[in-house]
Symmetry: C2
Subunit: 325 residues, 2 copies
């Protein structure tokens, strides 16, 4: 699923191309090796959902006018660099071999290089944010802190069959929703949106992020490897018990018997089937839909935002719930 395409906003394609070029430029470095490593994942593509959110938030704050000023593109790049930098570190943490169809940085070079290059991408993001003013720099920095907190929370509950929904939501608020909220907010900040509009955009991004992550977690259980582009069931193998599994654990003693410890890979499919029965998937989708609705409502509450752009953003959220990969 190419997410920004579902936005159906005419100017988005052109502005996303500008983001792409600015992204490539931002990771160029006089040190050839560092430049090569830093640009590795940029070159591998990706949905660019976060930059698309920054651009759309800017359109919404500017009566739909486009192309956006260069500062908006810079904000979109800063947000994507934070995402990419965190992926470099995630892949070290998960010992991932591939990412977006190419070898991960840790696999191609080493963990050491991936840690340093991830730090470099986060630093470049902070530098770009600072060029947009102290408020944007402060917001992006605190968001990086939230990302860390979300991931630490997830780590603390690996293989925890007692994991609560609260713990799950606190983790995904940090690791996913915070940066989506910031992506939207920065688009508004750089466009001079007022505080009400910024709050609406931030809440929209936050609920969109929660919805996105819940669907992601469901798909990890239900989608085929072909659709996902990576093996499914990874969360179960890593001991990350996501919303559908938490729901399933409440009603299925059999599932509980199988979890709480590493799964033998040859039993993964059986356990995956157990985790997807008894309405757990539908319950997770209900929750995802409630966040999609909250995202809709966040936009509806701000008169300062362009209605046409808001309609397109609502369609994006609906598309997220229905996506299959």
């Amino acid at each position: 699923m190419n997410l920004p395409r579902t936005l159906e906003l005419a100017p988005l394609g052109g502005d996303l191309d500008r983001v792409e070029r600015a992204l490539e430029e931002s990771v160029r470095h006089r040190d050839r090796f560092l430049g090569e490593v830093a640009s590795h994942l940029v070159g591998a593509g990706g949905k660019r959902l976060r930059p698309a959110l920054t651009l759309c938030a800017a359109y919404a704050s500017r009566d739909g006018s486009h192309p956006v000023p260069a500062d908006v593109v810079t904000g979109a790049v800063a947000v994507e660099l934070v995402h990419l930098g965190s992926l470099y570190h995630d892949d070290v943490i998960d010992e991932a071999e591939t990412r977006r169809g190419v070898p991960s940085v840790n696999a191609r070079w080493s963990n050491i290089v991936a840690i340093l290059a991830g730090d470099f991408l986060l630093a470049r993001a902070s530098e770009l944010a600072a060029s947009l003013g102290a408020d944007v720099a402060a917001l992006l920095a605190s968001t990086i802190g939230e990302l860390c907190r979300g991931q630490v929370l997830e780590l603390q509950h690996l293989f925890d069959v007692e994991r609560s929904e609260e713990s799950y939501f606190a983790a995904i608020e940090g690791k996913t929703a915070s940066l989506m909220a910031t992506a939207c907010r920065i688009g508004g900040m750089v466009s001079g949106a007022d505080d009400d509009a910024l709050d609406s955009l931030g809440e929209f991004g936050r609920h969109l992020g929660l919805c996105f992550q819940i669907v992601d977690d469901v798909l990890d259980l239900t989608a085929t490897e072909e659709a996902l582009g990576k093996p499914s069931g990874q969360d179960l193998l890593e001991g990350v018990y996501t919303l559908p599994v938490i729901v399933g654990l409440r009603s299925s003693p059999t599932l509980r018997d199988h979890l709480g410890r590493p799964i033998p890979p040859n039993r993964l499919d059986e356990i995956r089937r157990l985790a997807t029965s008894d309405g757990a998937i539908e319950a997770a989708y209900d929750t995802a839909r409630s966040h999609a609705k909250a995202a809709d409502e966040a936009l509806a509450s701000s008169p300062g935002l362009d209605p046409e752009v808001c309609t397109a953003l609502r369609r994006l959220v609906d598309g997220l719930v229905g996506r299959s990969s």
Copy 2:
């Protein structure tokens, strides 16, 4: 060696206590575990050389007046947090077991936790820097990028018997001198120093950093484990060929025969002795002294800086060259 004590500046003790309290405060977190991990190295103490530089740069920019305003303390904390965050990642990279007499974060918890907590400290540093304005935020962010570049450069030349002095200096410029320069510059920026004074402070910090690192690298070869507080010869074991070794390699074919590959630990002392003969140590000290002199001269060139503070800073640099641990 407790470096700031050699500064003999009356107000420094009180202001460093404020930095210490603000450091502890800065890593407190509503998530108890993240707070505990983030404060682990803060609690283990350290020389606090970088915060001392920020404070002194502020004294020098404010006619010696003290105590410094709260913003200077914030700047000092931001700089130290960058240093600490990079140590968390260094210890993962070096697989270090201890740091400052306590277990390293990676050893006590895990590499994963150390990576995330290091990210968190860097993010907190960026957030504090943003509270001091976009210029400080931009400078700190670009300095974090320089740290990464310096470390990547070092990695690229592990076990490289052809490593040049240029490569060595480019690496230590990035990994040590850049943050010392920034520590000084921020002290001046927050105190309203003019551009000339800022350049002088930055050059002072840069040369001090180069001098500090060269002496550090010499001591790794010459000092006892007791004086260092950690096993000596670590650089040789890790394949990091520092200035004295680069000098020694030029004149000693025997040394060259032993290097270029991992050293069996039982031959370390013999190779360490080889690397410290033939005047290589004295040559490295000569270079360190030339940077001490350049640091002196940088301060002398700025009429806007308080002469008494500058004298104390010069004594600090002289103390660095003569230190034995």
